[in-house]
Amino acid sequence: MKTSTHETEIIVDTEVPMVRIIRTFDAPPNKVFRAHTDPELLARWQGPRGTEMRVERYDCRTGGSYRYLHTPCDEVAGEGFEAWFHGSFHEVRPSELIVQTFTFEGFPDHVALEKLVFEDLGDGRTRLVATSLVDSFADRDAFVASGMEHGVREGYERLDELISAGAL
């Protein structure tokens, strides 16, 4: 199944429990890669809106590991909760590839295997293909649903604004 209106494309597979996100950036692979491996830069873009990201460790190299915290930082997300995440870097090839695991510590037995491919488009642009694979459809769908629940907390007003502005 595919939905694509703007630039970000999401593929929710029906054969295997995976989600794939595809997005092109107007920057060469070394820059996009750095934004994924430098904890200071990561904290500026990676968490959901209304949350702050605090990195405990982020040792992005083959065999390294990471742990970070998402904490609510405005009144909307303030109704949310703190969430720790951790994982291991299985394979890291600068400007090309990151293979890592991902666990939300609230469900420590559940793990996603994530593969991030940084494809050099050759004209100063990069296509990122990020695939998350989990071990059951129920886990995968809960993953997609967590995005939904977060969206509900934010309220539908923003969506309505976008729709009335003709952005959708």
């Binding site: 939905t3 029906t14 950036f25 070394n30 750095r34 491996t37 500026r44 997609v144």
Partner: protein, 125 residues
């Protein structure tokens, strides 16, 4: 739509035969016999697939009419699309912040950050 229903919908659509049946029902309601036609499959097997689609809420069957045609519940498919769209929008939000950040980075930036100095390492000669 609850998470378990979303899971049932995804699971129901994981089978290529059932996807074909959904595509067929998107055109018009159909009986078990009509659905069985394009497949080299027993009516029992078709009924079994239909029951999975019914349990997921994707298909309903009239109780009154003798032919009991199956009807596609298109709004269940729409709801699933809405879930995926919200997930996509959340990713897009992150990526537009990343766009802003990328514009600030120098073009020749190292793909990896400098290695942090471990405790005591700096003290060594």
């Amino acid at each position: 739509m609850a998470v378990d229903q979303l899971s049932r919908v995804f699971a129901a659509l994981a089978d290529p035969t059932r996807r074909d049946m959904v595509a067929r029902l998107a055109v018009a309601d159909a009986t078990v016999n009509e659905l069985a036609e394009p497949f080299a499959m027993s009516l029992q097997a078709v009924s079994k697939h239909l029951r999975v689609l019914e349990d997921a809420g994707l298909v309903s069957r009239s109780r009154e009419a003798q032919r009991r045609p199956a009807h596609l519940e298109a709004e269940v498919l729409d709801m699933m699309t809405a879930w995926i769209e919200r997930y996509r929008r959340q990713a897009e939000e992150r990526f537009s912040r990343l766009d802003t950040l990328l514009a600030e980075l120098p073009d020749d930036v190292d793909p990896l950050p400098p290695r942090p100095v471990a405790d005591g390492e700096g003290a060594r000669p």
